[in-house]
Symmetry: C2
Subunit: 416 residues, 2 copies
C-alpha cells in the first residue's frame, strides 16, 4: 500500500466517523477526492471539508468543528445551509451523542461564562453591544430581537413584531395607570409600546449600554420619558412594587443556577397580587445549549426545559395560567431575518469581516433548523399570584375584539 | 377553681389551638358556652363543635377532624359552608402547617391506597361504582364528571360541558378517520362526542365496571359501536397505535409513582408522530392531597404540581404546545353541581343516608373553595411528538370559526 493510499484510507475512516456522529442524514461528505454518504438524487447537497485539521476537529467535536470550520471558510456547503442543518438535526435527534471532547469543552465554557453580575455584563456586552447599525440591517424597524407572532403566514416581519408586542400586552391585561417592570428590555420596543398604547408606566432594565442608550433616545423622541424609565442595571437590582412583570428573551441569558434569584425578584416586585409573562427559548428536556453558539454567539446562554423554567414560578407559589409554544413562529421570524441579512452581507462584511458574516449566517440558519425540528421551542408563560384579580375568564379575548370587550365587562372576582 | 371552670378553660384552650391551626379566618368557633374568634359583624358565621371527641380530633388534625366531624353531624355550620371554607383556605395558605398526626395519617393513607393494578381497581370502585342514578341527580345529562368550559358566565352546565368536549376536540385537531385512545373515559361522553362529530374511531378505557356498562349502552343506543370500543381495562394495558391520546380527569387517580408508566403508554400508542391532551387537577407546587378527601371520597388520589405532570412529557421528548388553566371554570362547574345536589338531597339521603349527604356536600363545597382560592388548579396540556404534523399555527382557530377554517387551509408542514 502506498503512502497516498494509506492516507486516503485514514481520511475515509475519519469521514465515516463524522458520518456516524451526525447520524443518517442524506448529506454527502467530501474531503479531497473522498466522498461518502448517500448522494441525494434530486438535490446533490454536500459538505466539503477543505483541510485535515478541520476533519480531525469534526471527529473530536462535530458541532464545534463544523461551526468553526464553516465560520473560517474551511468548510463549504453545496446546497441550502438551512436544509442541510435541518436534515442533520433530525437525524441527530435519534442518534446524536456528544463525544467526550464535546462534553469537556461544553463544561469548560459553562464554567468560564458564569452569570455572576460581572459575568453577565461581559456576556451581554459580547452580543448586544455590537453596534446598533448592524442590527438595523436585518431586524424590523423597531429592533425587536425576539420571536415575532405572525397572525397569518403572509404577515410581514414588521406586522408580526407589532402583533407580538400586542399579544404580550393583551396576555398581561394591562390597565391604564398600572406599573410594569420589563426585565431585559432590548432596544425598548415593548416598554414603549406598553406606554404608548396601554397608558402604563414602565421601568425597563437592561445591562447592554448600547441598547439602553438607543432606548432612551427613542423615549425622548416619542415624548414618553415621563412614562418609561430605562435603567442600565442587572435584573437582580430591580426594586419597587409593580402590578405586572414582563420579560421577553432574558431567561436564556441568566443561567439556570440563578433562577432562584429571579424568582425572589418576582416576589418582591409583584408579590402575591401581581401577574407576569415570561417569553423564552426552551426545550422539551434538559440539555446543554449548543457549544458553538455559546462560544461564538451567546456566551453564558442556557436554554431550559419548560419544566426547569416552571421551577421559578413553583417556588414562589405562582399559578401558571397559560403556556403557548410559538416555535414555528420563531422559525419564520428567523427566515425573515436571514433573508434580510443575506441582502446586507456586503455591509456586514465591511463592518466585521467575512468570518463574522459566515458565523452569523450559520447562527441564523442553525436556529431556523433548530426551531423547525423541535430541538428548540419558544414558550410564552403567563403566571399570577393567588390574590391576582386579572385572571381572564377565557382566552377568547386574545383573538376576537368582541370577546375582548365582553370579557372585560364580565369580569367579576370569584369571591362572593 | 371549680371543676367546671377548669374544664371550661381546657376547652377554651383547645378552641384557641384550633384557631391557631386554621389561621386568621374571621370565623367564630363555638363549643358549649365557649365562643372564640372575631365575630363577623355582617354575617355572624360560625362553626359549632358538638362534642369533646371532635374538639380533640380537630386539634390533632384540623382537616380530618373537621371533615369527619361535619360528616357525622358533630360539627354544625351557621352560615355559608363554601364561604367559610374559602376564608379558612385563604388564611391557611399563609399559616397552615400540618400537625405530626396529620402528616402521619396522610402517609399511612398513601401507603394503604397504592395504585398497583389491584389497588387502582379498588380505589376507582370506591368512587365511580356508586350507582349511576346517584350521579344523574346532579351531573349534566351526558354525565360529564370533570371541569366544564363556560364560554360565557351565563352558559348552562349542559352548554358548558358540551363546550368543554368541543374545546378538547378542537385542541386535538381531530381529522376524520383518525384513531384516538381515551384513557379514563368516565361514562363515555367524550369518546361518543369525538366519534359523532369528528368521524374518528375511539378506543376508550376505564376500570369502573358501572361506567363502562353505561357507556356501552349509550354507544349501542346511538349506533356508534363500530366507531367506539369501550374497554374495561387499566390504562397500563392500552395497546395498538393511535393518532391522538386524550385523558380527561384520570391523571389525579394514577399516583405520581406511576407517571413513568403512563409516559411509556403514550410513547407506544402515539409514538413520535402523534399528539395528545391531558386534562387534570393540578397545583402550583407539590403537596399531599387533602387527607379527608382521600379517606372518604377519592382513595389513592394525588394532585400534581404542573411541573411534576410535565415530567411525563419531558421523559418521552414530547413538546408541550399549550397549557390552559381553567381553575375558575372548575369552581363554577362545582357551583352548578352543588346547587343541583342540594335540590336532590332527599333522594341522596334515601339512597345512602344522611352521613353520605353531608360528606359529599363537604367535598363539593370544599372543592369550590379550593379552586376559588388557587389551592387547586385545572390544567389542560396539549403535547406532540417532534414528527407531529398537526401543530396549529396560532390558537385563533379555537375561538373563531373563520380563523379555524383559515388555519386549516394555511397549514403546511414546516419542512421545505
Amino acid at each position: 500500500m502506498s503512502t497516498a493510499e494509506r492516507e486516503s484510507t485514514l481520511e475515509n475512516r475519519l469521514l465515516r466517523r463524522i458520518q456516524g456522529l451526525i447520524g443518517q442524514a442524506p448529506i454527502q461528505l467530501e474531503f479531497d477526492q473522498e466522498k461518502i454518504g448517500p448522494p441525494d438524487p434530486t438535490k446533490n447537497e454536500s459538505v466539503v471539508i477543505r483541510d485535515r485539521r478541520t476533519l480531525a476537529h469534526m471527529v473530536l467535536d462535530p458541532e464545534l468543528g463544523f461551526g468553526d470550520g464553516y465560520m473560517q471558510g474551511r468548510i463549504e456547503i453545496n446546497g441550502n445551509l438551512v436544509n442541510i442543518l435541518e436534515q442533520v438535526f433530525r437525524s441527530m435527534r435519534s442518534s446524536g451523542k456528544r463525544s467526550w471532547y464535546g462534553r469537556l469543552f461544553s463544561n469548560w465554557l459553562q464554567h468560564m461564562q458564569g452569570n455572576t453580575r460581572g459575568g453577565s455584563a461581559a456576556n451581554i456586552h459580547h452580543h448586544y453591544d455590537l453596534n446598533t447599525d448592524f442590527y438595523k440591517l436585518w431586524l424590523d424597524s423597531h429592533l425587536v430581537y425576539t420571536c415575532a407572532y405572525f397572525p397569518t403566514h403572509s404577515a410581514t416581519l414588521e406586522e408580526a413584531q407589532k402583533a407580538k408586542l400586542e399579544h404580550v400586552c393583551r396576555k398581561l391585561r394591562l390597565q391604564p395607570g398600572e406599573r410594569v417592570v420589563d426585565a431585559g428590555c432590548g432596544w425598548g420596543a415593548l416598554a414603549l409600546h406598553m406606554a404608548r398604547h396601554y397608558g402604563v408606566s414602565v421601568q425597563a432594565f437592561n445591562i447592554s449600554h448600547e441598547q439602553i442608550q438607543y432606548a432612551r433616545a427613542q423615549a425622548r423622541r416619542e415624548g414618553l420619558t415621563d412614562q418609561v424609565t430605562f435603567v442600565e442595571d442587572d435584573y437582580r437590582n430591580i426594586s419597587g412594587r409593580f402590578d405586572a412583570f414582563v420579560s421577553v428573551g432574558m431567561l436564556e441569558h441568566i443561567g439556570r443556577e440563578h433562577y432562584g434569584e429571579l424568582g425572589r425578584v418576582l416576589q418582591r416586585t409583584i408579590g402575591n397580587s401581581g401577574r407576569g409573562l415570561m417569553h423564552f427559548i426552551g426545550r422539551n428536556r434538559p440539555a446543554p445549549f449548543s457549544t458553538w453558539i455559546r462560544k461564538r454567539i451567546f456566551p453564558g446562554a442556557y436554554v431550559p426545559a419548560l419544566r426547569e423554567a416552571l421551577e421559578i414560578f413553583e417556588r414562589q407559589n405562582y399559578s401558571v395560567l397559560d403556556v403557548e409554544n410559538l416555535r414555528l413562529h420563531y422559525a419564520k421570524t428567523l427566515e425573515h431575518w436571514l433573508a434580510r441579512y443575506e441582502r446586507s452581507v456586503e455591509s456586514v462584511s465591511s463592518m466585521f469581516g467575512p468570518e463574522f458574516v459566515r458565523a452569523w449566517r450559520l447562527y441564523l440558519a442553525g436556529s431556523i433548523a433548530s426551531f423547525r425540528t423541535g430541538m428548540l421551542q419558544l414558550f410564552q408563560v403567563v403566571f399570577a399570584g393567588s390574590a391576582c384579580r386579572q385572571i381572564p375568564w377565557t382566552r377568547a379575548y386574545l383573538y376576537t375584539e368582541s370577546a375582548r370587550l365582553e370579557n372585560e365587562s364580565q369580569w367579576t372576582p370569584a369571591r362572593s
